[in-house]
């Protein structure tokens, strides 16, 4: 309560001092007016005028320099912001290219009762350095790239899943000999993208063989023939 009263008293006093100050200023101005004639007769020395001319020139130069640096500071901040956006967008564009996306970091979040742990796991997707090859755009659920190998002009890619099942995909330029074990298998003619293909089916291993203008392909797996045809039809040239 006392604090409030003191504050109010202080404000009142400040207002009073301000008022006295105003009166003092008025008195000064009245005094100047009374001496107006005397003041106007005053001769300011030339040396003072000279000093002022020099001073104001230097002052202007200083102000101009200060102004320039202030502007530079503001402009450089804006330029930095624009550059940041530019670099960030270039980075995003670069990272969106397939070749750079070869290594993807998966963020795995594991929840526990008392805490949550986060770890970053490096997942190798496809690391094939061949110049020209075909790669399936579709695979049965759970299958992922296992390894890739090239033997005597035959490029072999293996896909596996968690149940240790595999799909072996071989490809070679037309004219290259591909050896296929079709012993005891039932061979039928099927179509892959409206092109004739050979499907060999036997317990535990189905083989699909087909070709296009450039390459001959072979898919081998215990998976059903229909699935192999679907994989074959999804082949994309890399």
């Amino acid at each position: 309560m006392n604090g409030k009263a003191d504050d109010k008293a202080e404000k009142l006093m400040n207002a009073y001092y301000d008022y006295i100050g105003d009166q003092h200023l008025e008195n000064i101005c009245r005094d100047i007016e009374a001496r107006e004639e005397e003041i106007s007769r005053t001769k300011v020395p030339e040396s003072l005028d000279g000093w002022f001319a020099q001073f104001i020139t230097q002052y202007k130069q200083k102000q101009a320099t200060r102004f320039f640096f202030n502007r530079l500071k503001i402009v450089s901040t804006k330029v930095a912001a624009v550059l940041f956006v530019l670099v960030a967008s270039m980075l995003i564009v670069t990272l969106s290219v397939d070749a750079i996306r070869m290594k993807v970091f998966n963020l795995l979040l594991e929840s526990n009762d008392t805490y949550s742990s986060v770890r970053v796991e490096e997942k190798t997707e496809v690391s094939i350095e061949w110049e020209k090859y075909y790669f399936p755009a579709w695979l049965p659920e759970g299958f992922r790239f296992g390894f890739a190998n090239e033997l005597k002009n035959v490029k072999i890619i293996e896909f596996t899943n968690d149940k240790n099942q595999f799909i072996l995909f071989s490809q070679a330029m037309n004219g290259t000999e591909l050896q296929i074990n079709t012993e005891d298998g039932r061979q039928t003619t099927v179509e892959v993208n409206q092109q004739p293909a050979i499907l060999s089916e036997k317990p535990g291993e189905n083989i699909l063989f087909w070709n296009n203008d450039e390459f001959s392909f072979c898919l081998s797996s215990e998976m059903d023939g229909v699935i192999l045809i679907k994989i074959a039809e999804s082949m994309k040239k890399k």
Partner: protein, 185 residues
């Protein structure tokens, strides 16, 4: 465009300093000479005042107003008094007169009752010691900080505080005297 506008704004501030000098150089020189009675010292004081004005000119919208004129007179007069005191190495007798001021404060209401007498109070205060009235104006009318006043008047911050305190006490003494005068009538 922003650059151009800023240049114009800055140019106005610079022109203000030139305008102040053009309008008030005689007043500044006259005020300094009035205290010092020495042309060279008066010139030095005006130069210091101009340098100091540059830092505070942006606080004044209209340089032709009484507030600007009053400020310039207060600034030059105090700088001149400082030099005068240094020259003569004299102590301020007026200040000594107030050393034994009692702490029997008037309350704000009593001050407010005397508001119609403010012109007389200001006059008496300035007569007693112009520095007291000046420091009071700079602090409460112009709203300068203690630090700014110290810089303007070439004083230490402590010195400014002491002057302010003495100004307030001197004001109290004046008001008490006036109050007693009126009561005895």
């Amino acid at each position: 465009m922003i650059l151009l506008l800023s240049t114009i704004g800055d140019e106005q501030t610079r022109n203000k300093v030139e305008e102040v000098y053009r309008l008030y150089r005689k007043l500044l020189y006259y005020t300094a000479y009035d205290v010092l009675k020495d042309y060279h010292e008066a010139e030095d004081v005006v130069q210091s005042a101009i340098i100091k004005i540059c830092d505070h000119i942006h606080k004044f919208d209209d340089i032709k107003c009484n507030k600007m004129k009053g400020f310039l007179v207060i600034l030059v007069r105090n700088l001149a008094i400082n030099i005068y005191n240094q020259r003569k190495r004299r102590s301020d007798l007026n200040m000594d007169k107030l050393e034994n001021v009692t702490n029997d404060d008037l309350n704000p209401e009593q001050y407010m009752l005397k508001i119609d007498n403010a012109e007389w109070v200001a006059q008496k205060l300035a007569q007693l010691n112009p520095e007291y009235a000046d420091v009071l104006v700079l602090r409460y009318t112009y709203q300068f900080t203690i630090d700014e006043i110290a810089c303007l008047m070439n004083l230490t911050e402590n010195n400014v505080r002491v002057k302010l305190c003495r100004a307030r006490k001197a004001l109290q003494e004046l008001l008490k005297g006036d109050y007693h005068e009126r009561e005895s009538r």
